[in-house]
Symmetry: C2
């Protein structure tokens, strides 16, 4: 009941949430511990009671990002249980939407901004869970003849590199306007998928 002086029980999560908000409103370059602390209503040194340093806060935010996409991808696979082609397309589009809607959270989550990622085990765990999801999707696609046979982790890696590369370039404004005039981001993504699959993927919905 003593809620006047920010003993609000869960400063740690409040700081993570504040970080996500700063990313959304001001971008990754404006993400600072001091700003996050101020937004959570505590002094600039309070975060150090919950995070070893700025890298640890970034790791926690990245873990949040991975959790978000994990839930989204899991839902998709349940939604089209007998249609791996549709799962592939919708999964890729979920990543694309994440990248375009929340570019800076996407960067923190996937762009490898951490110096020593292995020092953050819960983040590593989430990245592996998401990679496993991708591998399972690849296996289902192989069974349907969408991907050729071969090591599923290798194909999943290549799928992710392709999707991630396109999203990063779209985010950074590195895609020529001549292309953007003719194709939507979604179409560019579908073209990429099409070029790496055995079966043609329709360009339109």
């Amino acid at each position: 009941m003593k809620n006047n002086t920010y003993h609000h029980g869960d400063l740690k999560n409040a700081l993570i949430q504040a970080g996500v908000e700063v990313l959304a409103s001001e971008g990754v370059n404006a993400l600072s511990l001091r700003k996050v602390a101020k937004r959570a209503g505590v002094s600039h040194s309070a975060p150090y009671a919950h995070f070893a340093d700025k890298q640890a806060l970034i790791a926690a935010i990245a873990t949040e990002g991975h959790l978000y996409i994990f839930d989204a991808i899991t839902a998709i696979s349940g939604q089209y249980p007998e249609d791996p082609m549709r799962q592939l397309i919708e999964t890729a589009c979920a990543y694309l939407r994440f990248g375009l809607d929340e570019p800076d959270l996407f960067k923190i989550t996937f762009a490898g901004m951490l110096e020593h990622e292995r020092d953050h085990p819960s983040l590593v765990e989430m990245t592996q869970k998401n990679f496993i999801l991708l591998r399972q999707l690849v296996v289902r696609c192989q069974a349907a003849g969408i991907f050729a046979t071969g090591p599923d982790d290798l194909i999943a890696q290549n799928l992710w590199a392709t999707v991630y590369g396109l999203i990063s370039l779209l985010q950074g404004g590195q895609v020529s306007s001549a292309l953007l005039d003719r194709f939507s981001p979604r179409q560019l993504l579908l073209f990429s998928l099409n070029q790496m699959t055995q079966i043609d993927i329709p360009f339109e919905e």
Copy 2:
């Protein structure tokens, strides 16, 4: 002849060079105007005589990176004039080598770290020159049946996204060690190329 007090004629390029050195030795997070100025032997405010702000220095360094790869790619195309498959492989590997040898210069050059890239016309010009090189390569590969017919800029874009995505993930330590134990970075790259081409690319030299 008055070379005692750093009127050394070309502070601008000295600052760019100092920036490249800082990237190589301490990484992108340690790149600061003040450090670059100190390394060039001038006061912390001297850079402002040559660059509007830190973004402008970053843009100049990125331009340098684009020039470096432009020369490398151009040389390769001249080296195997009648072998587009070899040109494709060696071009992709040149990017890969750049990314692995100078990860932080590669990031500055290609990762879209600039807030307003269009404000730096000489950088935009170099990015376009490199993209044109890639398109010409794609056209030669299409003529040889390596890539399917289709818009060459779209295929070039997808090629670049695939190569860039893999390099970024390798840099960030985002490729599973299970994969790295079985495949070299070069093999991962060749596998990616293989999956997007019409003709099989041999995995070994």
